[in-house]
């Protein structure tokens, strides 16, 4: 061994050198003051950290156990709520699509077959002129959207975040 590097000294500290090298270092340490100082410096940090186990708070185990126990009682996501949200989403998307493309053309004056009118007098449906069907459809769509957000909050978001808070406490 020509030069005693810090790596070699660290291996010496860890007891990872073979017998011959270890003996060589021991011999050098007896005569070389600088080498002894280097070894001392390298050992210093080891001395303070090696096997030094810190202790958490006294109620650590209880706190973790309480959180784990709460996991079972944490609110779960409601499947029904999820289905309602999906149905509402589909309704809103389809409704918006048909309305924008003006595909919906609501005509309440549905033709009644003449075979029926022969025997029964069907009154004609006359909507008051003030009623705009398009506006009614839009109001309905907005209401469904509002309900969608409300159900999303109650059935999905709130249970999710409450569960998270119960499990992780933040």
């Amino acid at each position: 061994m020509n030069k005693i590097t810090d790596e070699v000294l660290l291996d010496y500290i860890d007891g990872a050198l073979d017998k011959a090298d270890e003996q060589f270092i021991k011999k050098q340490l007896q005569s070389d003051m600088q080498l002894r100082a280097r070894l001392h410096d390298l050992k210093k940090a080891d001395k303070h950290l090696m096997g030094d186990i810190l202790h958490p708070s006294v109620n650590f185990t209880d706190t973790v156990w309480k959180k784990i126990s709460n996991m079972g009682s944490a609110p779960r996501l409601s499947l029904n709520g999820l289905l309602i949200v999906l149905a509402a989403m589909v309704t809103v998307v389809l409704g918006s699509y048909f309305m924008t493309d003006s595909i919906i053309d609501i005509n309440l004056n549905v033709g009644v077959p003449s075979s029926v009118t022969e025997y029964v007098k069907v009154p004609e449906v006359e909507l008051p002129k003030g009623i705009n069907l398009k506006i009614i459809s839009q109001i309905l769509l907005y209401s469904i959207s509002f309900l969608l957000l409300l159900i999303l909050d109650r059935a999905i978001l709130k249970p999710y975040f409450r569960r998270r808070r119960q499990l992780f406490g933040h």
Partner: protein, 194 residues
């Protein structure tokens, strides 16, 4: 590693497996045994990465909860401790990153606060070692902590950190040298300030 410590290690390993079997069979309260056994190691590891008691405690608690939730996925190819330390390391590093993003100033203030607190508990040199450790990269801190816990072999540290054994050895040497140099510098500065 001596013959006695190898035997002790394998007995520990078997004990952990027995406890895990009991938990998976439905006796969940057995998990308390694992918490009691590993809480010190988990807290030390998290503290060495985060350098703050409250954050370290939170990270250690979260790690136990994550380990419990994923216990069925633990494939027993490695020791429970190796698998668990990996969870602790990842949780602590993620928490450390999050804290840095939230506010650098607050983080600094808390570090100074915790250093001041710990100075009461630890002697000066120990305090400087902790300060030196805090200045290393997350990966170096993790490696050194695992090494100093004296719980894991180089192969197991390599499993936790996803680095090759040879690289771990080189990096450990480098980190220990850096720590020793920092400690020397800090002690010299302290001596000059007296």
């Amino acid at each position: 590693m001596s013959c006695q410590s190898v035997v002790k290690d394998s007995v520990n390993h078997i004990n952990d497996d027995i406890i895990i079997d009991r938990i998976l069979d439905g006796d969940k309260s057995q998990y308390k045994v694992l918490i009691d056994k590993y809480k010190g190691y988990a807290f030390t590891l998290a503290f060495n990465v985060l350098n703050n008691r409250e954050d370290a405690e939170e990270a250690a608690q979260d790690s136990f909860i994550k380990a419990f939730k994923n216990l069925q996925k633990f494939n027993r190819q490695s020791k429970f401790s190796t698998w668990f330390y990996r969870i602790v390391t990842n949780t602590a590093i993620t928490k450390g990153r999050k804290n840095r993003v939230v506010s650098v100033d607050i983080n600094e203030a808390r570090t100074i606060g915790s250093t001041a607190r710990s100075s009461v508990e630890m002697d000066d040199q120990k305090k400087f070692v902790r300060q030196g450790l805090a200045q290393l990269s997350d990966q170096d801190k993790t490696m050194l902590s695992l090494f100093y816990l004296k719980e894991l072999s180089l192969e197991e540290i390599s499993e936790v950190t996803d680095l090759k054994t040879n690289l771990i050895k080189v990096k450990l040497h480098r980190a220990r040298k850096r720590l020793a140099t920092q400690l020397k510098t800090m002690l010299n500065e302290e001596a000059l300030n007296l």
